[in-house]
């Protein structure tokens, strides 16, 4: 193999490596070793490995970033599918979001769900500590519209125009709503990950090459 052919292979695999960030070091080395073996063997089928045969082989493999994305997304979503931990799930979703719009949308929805779940839980937990300031409050605005606000109890009690509607019920209901919302968010995010993974798992065929 001449230097130019070697340089082309190294540059391509470097591009793949860049796109595999987030995977474990052993997974990355395993993927790169397999691709290097494939390129070397395929490019050398006609005898010697030249820059031309390497170019042809790399073209068959497709864009390095796209190839890395195929590996990384699936591996991260696979990891997300087996986890029940919101933190591990969010870590995988952050990576997914960096790779596709679908991932970004799912991440946005998941973060919103977890934040709301956290607010309910916090309001419930803080109610015994700050009974006057924690709870669900409702107020009637000048326009006649009702507005609801969830107070976590860190600051002062809401102004006199607002009325607390749950009282101590915020404790069981907040815990229930918070836990339920966290579980629901996790399940929906996992379902999205699974659905996306299945829908994109079997790409290109002869007719669209």
């Amino acid at each position: 193999m001449n230097d130019e052919a070697q340089r082309k292979i190294d540059a391509y695999l470097g591009g793949v490596r860049d796109g595999l960030r987030g995977l474990s070091a052993s997974d990355i080395e395993d993927i790169l070793a397999e691709l290097r073996a494939h390129i070397t063997e395929k490019a050398g089928l006609c005898g010697t490995i030249s820059a031309t045969t390497v170019d042809s082989t790399l073209a068959s493999l497709g864009d390095a970033g796209q190839l890395a994305s195929e590996y990384a997304t699936d591996a991260l979503l696979a990891r997300a599918e087996v986890t029940r931990s919101p933190l591990r799930l969010l870590e995988s979703l952050f990576r997914w979001a960096s790779l596709s719009l679908a991932g970004f949308v799912v991440l946005l929805g998941s973060v919103s769900g977890y934040v709301l779940a956290g607010a309910f839980l916090l309001a419930a937990v803080l109610k015994p500590l700050h009974p006057e300031a924690a709870g669900l409050w409702v107020s009637r605005e000048g326009t006649g519209d009702l507005s609801f606000s969830l107070h976590m109890g860190f600051g002062s009690a809401p102004a006199g125009g607002e009325r607390e509607i749950l009282g101590w019920w915020i404790l069981p209901l907040g815990l229930l709503a918070g836990c339920g919302l966290a579980v629901l968010t996790t399940r929906i995010a996992l379902w999205c990950a699974r659905y996306y993974r299945q829908s994109r798992s079997l790409p290109r065929s002869q007719s669209n090459q």
């Binding site: 993927i31 397999e34 494939h38 070397t40 590996y71 079997l202 790409p203 007719s207």
Partner: protein, 128 residues
């Protein structure tokens, strides 16, 4: 009668792509039924035994996915080519899944063939 548009042809192409996509996972698993193979061998097998000529950049991530799903396992084996090769083989779960998918495929194929025979007969009578 509705005119035939270029979009109709494109959607037929898109349908064929989706059809091929749906078959690829089963085709790869089936290619491992006789024993362990490495990536390039699997590609050659698909090219020689089926109409599924797939891009190389498709097969490797798919093998990785099948491994993540626990349907195949891999091992590095030294080869006479001068570099090690990563061989894949079906796991017990992979074998079960392949047999299930093959049975489903046969049932589906039989029922579709029955239906399509009527379509072809209809086309032939229209021509008459």
């Amino acid at each position: 009668m509705r005119k035939f548009h270029r979009d109709d042809l494109q959607s037929t192409d898109g349908w064929e792509v989706q059809l091929r996509k749906g078959c690829l996972e089963l085709a790869i698993l089936a290619s491992l039924m006789e024993g362990k193979r490495y990536g390039l061998e699997i590609l050659r097998r698909l090219e020689s035994d089926s109409d599924l000529v797939v891009s190389e950049g498709t097969v490797y991530p798919l093998l990785s996915r099948l491994k993540n799903l626990g349907l195949v396992e891999s091992e590095w084996v030294e080869s006479e080519a001068g570099h090690p090769r990563k061989y894949y083989r079906l796991t017990g779960e992979g074998l079960r899944r392949t047999q299930q998918m093959a049975a489903m495929w046969r049932r589906f194929s039989t029922s579709m063939s029955r239906l399509l025979a009527r379509v072809e007969e209809g086309g032939a009578s229209d021509e008459r």
